[in-house]
């Protein structure tokens, strides 16, 4: 492992660390709003990963001069990841808003947005149904 190798791959490792922090927020925290924020962190680190793949050393943004006199010596970064990530950002905000709408509905139904409390309410409801209809449904209502 030379220092050149480490410098060339440090960006990937940074994004993986960020991605894992987001992942940890999603799986380990019980609050639903925080889960959505964690999902956003995860998502944005994937975006940064893609964009960093498209970067060319000494390159510039892939926009030509207005008069379209393209200098062949100018290096442009790869425009394809930019396009894909533009699409992904917009799709990401769509899924985020859908998730937030679901949270609002959950809060309306259960009165809380903490996962532990919702699971508790659910198991209580199930126990109640079991005791009411248990015999007729084999105890698995």
């Amino acid at each position: 492992m030379t220092s050149e190798f480490i410098l060339g791959h440090l960006n990937y490792w940074l994004f993986i660390v960020l991605m894992m922090i987001g992942f940890y927020i999603v799986v380990a925290r019980g609050n639903y709003i925080k889960k959505i924020v964690g999902l956003n962190v995860f998502q944005v680190s994937v975006f940064m990963f893609y964009i960093s793949i498209g970067k060319v050393e000494g390159g510039t943004a892939p926009i030509f001069p207005l008069d379209m006199n393209i200098d062949p010596d100018v290096v442009y970064s790869n425009p394809l990841p930019h396009v894909l990530i533009l699409t992904a950002i917009v799709v990401g905000i769509a899924t985020t808003s859908l998730g937030l709408a679901l949270i609002v509905r959950i809060r309306e139904e259960f009165g809380t947005i903490e996962e532990d409390e919702i699971l508790e309410i659910e198991s209580k409801l199930q126990a109640k149904e079991n005791s009411a209809e248990g015999p007729s449904m084999g105890g698995r209502a």
Binding site: L14, A28, I33, V41, V56, N78, V91, V104
Partner: protein, 173 residues
């Protein structure tokens, strides 16, 4: 700096601070995108990530709760899963080309073609726009379909909220 912000998001219990920090995180990302030559992506991230999603999160917070409750018990399983996944991903990057290398597979096939052809085919200066609207127009169409579906979903989910609230109040009186 990004990592510090992300860890702060993890540690904060106050949801308002979490939302603001996620906005800061998006802005820092936008700055990073500018340095990585992706100016269009930076615009979109600053507008969408730091703007719209913060507003949406604040709106949801206003309708639900302000603080996160302490988790009752600490479980090592999530941490283990995350560490293993991270380790596997880092192992996967060992074969990746160096950052900024001009000869990497991502740079060599389609990208050069787009860069050389789009001035003749489309004739607009911004290559990203040319690809987005023309070469990959169907992707963009699919994206708008996704956004439309999400809009319909949101409207169905919270559309009746105000009406139901009024009914509840009427029932209580």
């Amino acid at each position: 700096m990004l990592v510090v912000t992300a860890i702060a998001i993890l540690m904060m219990r106050h949801l308002f601070a979490v939302v603001m920090l996620s906005s800061v995180f998006s802005l820092l990302c936008a700055l990073l995108f500018v340095t990585l030559d992706a100016v269009d992506v930076a615009f979109t991230e600053a507008a969408v990530g730091a703007g719209i999603s913060t507003v949406l999160l604040l709106g949801t917070m206003a309708l639900t709760a302000r603080n996160e409750k302490m988790p009752r018990n600490f479980s090592p399983v999530p941490l283990l899963v995350v560490l293993v996944t991270g380790g596997v991903l880092i192992y996967g990057t060992l074969d990746m080309p160096d950052f900024g290398s001009a000869t990497s597979p991502a740079q060599s096939h389609l990208a050069t073609q787009y860069l050389t052809q789009s001035p003749h085919d489309i004739g607009i200066p911004n290559v990203v726009t040319a690809i987005l609207a023309s070469y990959r127009g169907y992707d963009t169409l699919g994206e708008t379909v996704v956004v439309f579906t999400a809009c319909v979903g949101v409207l169905i989910l919270i559309g009746g909220l105000a009406r139901r609230r009024r009914k509840d109040e009427g029932g209580a009186n």
